[in-house]
Amino acid sequence: MDLKDIIKPENLVYTKTKNMTDKELSYCPGCGHGTAHMITMEAVEELDITEKTIGVAPVGCSVLAYEFMNIDMQQAAHGRAPAVATALSRVMPEKVIFTYQGDGDLAAIGTAETIHACNRGENIVIIFVNNGIYGMTGGQMAPTTLMGMKSSTSPYGRTAEQNGNPLKMTELVAQLEGTYNVSRHAVHTFKHVKKAKKAIKQAFKDAMDKKGTQVVEIVSNCNSGWKMTPVKSNEWMVENMFPYYPLGQIKKNGVLVNNSKD
């Protein structure tokens, strides 16, 4: 069989969503950000809401998300994406608004904006990529950095005395009346990608139905910041990040879920 016999419309099993631009991703090879972008944009396309979706990019490695996501986007100051999204959603209630934020952006400098947007129950989707480190600035400690984990600003490992315990921001915002569906996912295997995308799709639907704030955390790797190969970083993530940040539904349709095991 010739290659030409295979490349036919009826044999097509996958195409890149039109909601991603052709620009080469700026992420390190192996990094989870690219997959998280892709499934977010696929969800938007599949729900046929491209024309009414506006995204808010953070400050962090995904600061350039607007170069890759082929929709209208705003780039917010560090941590302020939930405030920007609040306004977008308030002044254009018929539109669909999401933020895409890292853990430094969402859980350190932007803690106040995150908590208050969730508490007001803004009808927005928050996609929270938690890689336990500041990737963009070169691997400094984040509020989510695990105990004992080394980073350029915790070179001997994080200690509770010095830095407090890793912050479970997603569990925290799940406690607030304003959040509706809150879940934690990963994108390192096909199975996990599928689940994460399903959650993102549901989150967009619930935001459109004005059910309140939808939070989807994606526990991800930062192979460069963790100073590991991509494969090793995913193994390390499963062994170390998942026990502290267990995958699964944390709040379902406005009710806290007891068993948050995957």
């Binding site: 350039l64 082929n70 929709i71 986007m73 705003q74």
Partner: protein, 361 residues
């Protein structure tokens, strides 16, 4: 129909915001300007014009909400007083960088730090010279009456959208709190989605339709060459403002030997001083800059060419605007500053003494 009302400057600003057809206001309470958000919350414009009013969790959040709404092409305002404006500066810098129109009111109080809740004009440098990081400018309007607190809302929006740049209304605790008669214009309609897209659709994030490329609001460019070009573009806008937007008011300057320069509430005080001085036979005039950036530099320069002997900058600060008067005078005449700090309002007699002792003597 035009309506006459008696109200505080802060309330006049709020009422004018509704009437101009603003889409949103985001703010956080601080004295002496909390009447703005209180008035808006009581007026409930969401029931009439559809204007959104939201109390944010901080000034930082409020200014970033302004960024978001402005990026969607909406007419959006915020207001605060000095400590709150300090917190808004990051957002203002981002808006200047991302070229977003918005109106920001500062009802200045005494500083530094928590300072005092009494009136001051000590935020001149912050408003006029930048304040936030990077090479940016805001057009700055200085109202000196309750009427101007209302009128400048529309003027500020016009300039904000003309230049796609934040515009500041630099007021103070006197103008914000005092009550005067004010005439309001008729209620304007807010832009419909269709109008908004016609006017701002080439850049605002209203949702990407198939007929256009995606719109992106950002102040970032990692390519330094492109960033330099972007800076040149911004500087060209500021230059154009200097050429087209200078506003001022002159009182008895034509025959004056001496000129007082004062804005905002200080200009009101200096007007009284002017009357007292003229009664004594002193030929003094008053220049009231209405725009603080762009500054009426050329007018001051003209006075020096005509042979004006001395200038007194009257400000409720330790001497900030006086630097711009000096730059305009360029050593050709005597320039002095008179002011009170920390929330003290100078009396017309004090200003007259300063004029006689610092300038005329």
């Amino acid at each position: 129909m035009a309506e006459v009302k008696l109200m505080k400057g802060n309330e006049a600003f709020a009422e004018a915001a509704i009437r101009v057809g603003a889409d949103a206001y985001f703010g956080y309470p601080i004295t002496p300007q909390s009447e703005v958000i209180e008035y808006l919350m009581t007026a409930q414009p969401h029931l009439t014009t559809g204007m959104v009013v939201l109390q944010a969790e901080s000034e930082v959040a409020a200014i970033n909400m302004v960024y978001g709404a402005a990026g969607a092409g909406k007419k959006v305002l915020t207001s605060s007083s000095s400590p709150g404006i300090s917190l808004k500066l990051e957002g203002i810098s981002y808006m200047a960088g991302a070229e977003l129109p918005a109106v920001i009111l500062n009802v200045v109080r005494g500083g530094p730090g928590l300072g005092t809740i009494q009136p001051s004009q000590a935020d001149y440098f912050q408003a006029v010279k930048g304040g936030g990081h990077g090479d940016y400018k805001m057009l700055v309007l200085a109202p000196s009456s309750v009427q101007e607190m209302a009128d400048f809302v529309e003027d500020a929006f016009d300039a904000a959208f003309k230049y796609r740049n934040p515009v500041m209304i630099l007021s103070d605790g006197v103008i914000g709190q005092m009550m005067e008669k004010v005439i309001f214009k008729e209620q304007k309609d807010r832009w419909t989605e269709k109008e908004l897209i016609e006017i701002n659709g080439s850049w605002a994030t209203t949702g990407k339709t198939p007929d256009r490329e995606r719109n992106v609001i950002t102040s970032l460019d990692l390519d330094s060459h492109k960033m330099e070009l972007h800076n040149h573009k911004l500087q060209a806008k500021y230059k154009q403002m200097e050429e087209e937007e200078v506003r001022y008011e002159e009182f008895m300057c034509d025959d004056a030997d001496y000129i007082m320069v004062a804005y905002g509430s200080s200009a009101r005080i200096a007007q009284k001083t002017l009357n007292k001085a003229r009664a004594k036979g002193i030929k003094v005039g008053l220049l009231r800059p209405i725009t603080l950036f762009p500054y009426p530099t050329k007018v001051i320069h003209k006075y020096t060419e005509r042979g004006v002997k001395g200038f007194l900058s009257v400000e409720m600060s330790a001497g900030q605007m006086v630097e711009d008067v000096r730059l305009a005078v360029n050593g050709k005449a005597k320039v002095e500053h008179f002011g009170r700090n920390g929330g003290i309002i100078p009396s017309p007699t004090e200003v007259l003494d300063a004029l006689e002792n610092q300038i005329i003597k």
